[in-house]
Amino acid sequence: MKKSSTSTRNSDKQNDIIGSDLYDCSQTVSYKVKNRIWIIVFSVLAVLCLGAWLFISNISSPSKIVEIYQNGSLVEKIDLNSVTNEREITLSGEHGTNIILISNGHIKMKSADCPDKLCVKHGELKNSYSPIVCLPNKVVIKFENSSDGVDAKAGAVR
C-alpha cells in the first residue's frame, strides 16, 4: 500500500518530495554546521584529555611508600627505599595469583594468572596517578596517599 502510493508520489509530485521538510536544504546546511561544532567540541575535549594524561603520567611520586591492596583491603605497606634485596611477594586470593617483584626504589607486577595480563604490561609503578591494577584478581598497587596534594587532586579529577 505504502509503496505504491510512494511511487505515484515520486513520479507525480517530485518537486514536492524534493522540497519536503525531511530533506530540506536548510536542514542539510544545519547538519553540516552542527557536525562542525561537534568536531570542534570533541577535538578540544580530546586535546584537553591528552594534555591531562601526559601531565598526570609524567609526575613522579615524592614518597616511596607503596601500598598493596587486595579486594579493597590493605595487604602490605612497603617503603621502597628501605628495600635492600630484591624479593617477590605472592598474592593468592579467590580470584587468582599475582607475583609482585620489589627491589630498591622499584616495584612491578612480575607475573599474574589473570586473562588480560594488563597488570604485568603496566611495568613499574611510576607515580600515584597510574596505579598498577589487576581488575580480574582485584589487586591494586599504588603509592601511599600523602594527605595534602594527591587527595585534593583526586577530588578534582573526579
Binding site: I17, A46, P136, V157
Partner: protein
C-alpha cells in the same frame, strides 16, 4: 538550492532503509531475522576483538567493534531490537570469551551508554550518528571506570579518566562512522533496487 538533493529525496519512503528519524516499516519476521543476524555479527566482532591482545596496558581501551551493530540496529530497527542485540551480545560474549569477571564492567558501561543512546537518539539523525556514537562510547568508558572503582574500592583508578575519554572519542568516532556510512550506502542501494 532545492534541486541539488534528488538522491536523498527518494530515501524518504524506502522499504528497508531507515528514515532520518530512525523509524522504519519492516514486517515483524524480517525484523526478527535482522535482529538475530546483527546479534551474530556483533558477537563475532566481539569475540575477535577479545582474542586480540590489548594494545595498551590500560583497561577499557578498545575499539568496541560490536557497537557498530548495536548502532546499526538502533537506527534501522529501533530501540527494542537494539536492546536485544546489545544484551544478547553481552551475555553470550561473556560466555564465549570466558571472561565472566569482566561481565560486570561490561554490563555497567553498556547499560549507561545504552540509556544515553535511547534518550538522546531523537536529537541526532542519521548524519549525526557519529556524535551519538562518541557520546555513548565515552559514557560506556565512564560507566566501566565507575564499576571498576566500586569493585576494587580504589578511587585512585579515576586517574584513568582522561585517557578513557580520549579513547572513547576515537573509538566512538570510528564505530559511529562505520554504522553511519553503511546505513547511508544501504539506503542508496535499496533506492536503486526499487
Amino acid at each position: 538550492m532545492k534541486t541539488n538533493k534528488p538522491a536523498n529525496s527518494t530515501l524518504k519512503q524506502n522499504f528497508t532503509a531507515p528514515k532520518p528519524n530512525g523509524q522504519i516499516d519492516i514486517p515483524r519476521t524480517k525484523k526478527l531475522i535482522l535482529t538475530a543476524m546483527l546479534t551474530a555479527f556483533a558477537l563475532v566482532a566481539f569475540v575477535i576483538e577479545a582474542s586480540i591482545p590489548p594494545l595498551t596496558p590500560i583497561y577499557g581501551i578498545k575499539l568496541g567493534l560490536a557497537n557498530v551493530f548495536t548502532l546499526f540496529a538502533l537506527y534501522s530497527l529501533g530501540t527494542h531490537c537494539a536492546a536485544a542485540v546489545m544484551s544478547l551480545r553481552i551475555v553470550l560474549g561473556s560466555i564465549f570469551t570466558g571472561q565472566l569477571v569482566s561481565f560486570i564492567y561490561s554490563v555497567s558501561g553498556s547499560l549507561l551508554s545504552f540509556l544515553l543512546m535511547i534518550l538522546l537518539k531523537r536529537f541526532f539523525q542519521l548524519k549525526q550518528l557519529w556524535v551519538l556514537s562518541i557520546l555513548s562510547a565515552v559514557t560506556h568508558n565512564i560507566g566501566q571506570l565507575a564499576a571498576a572503582i566500586f569493585m576494587t574500592q580504589t578511587p585512585a583508578i579515576a586517574y584513568y579518566l582522561p585517557v578513557l575519554i580520549l579513547s572513547g572519542i576515537i573509538a566512538g568516532a570510528f564505530t559511529g562512522l562505520c554504522a553511519q556510512l553503511v546505513l547511508i550506502r544501504l539506503s542508496k542501494i535499496n533506492n536503486n533496487l526499487d
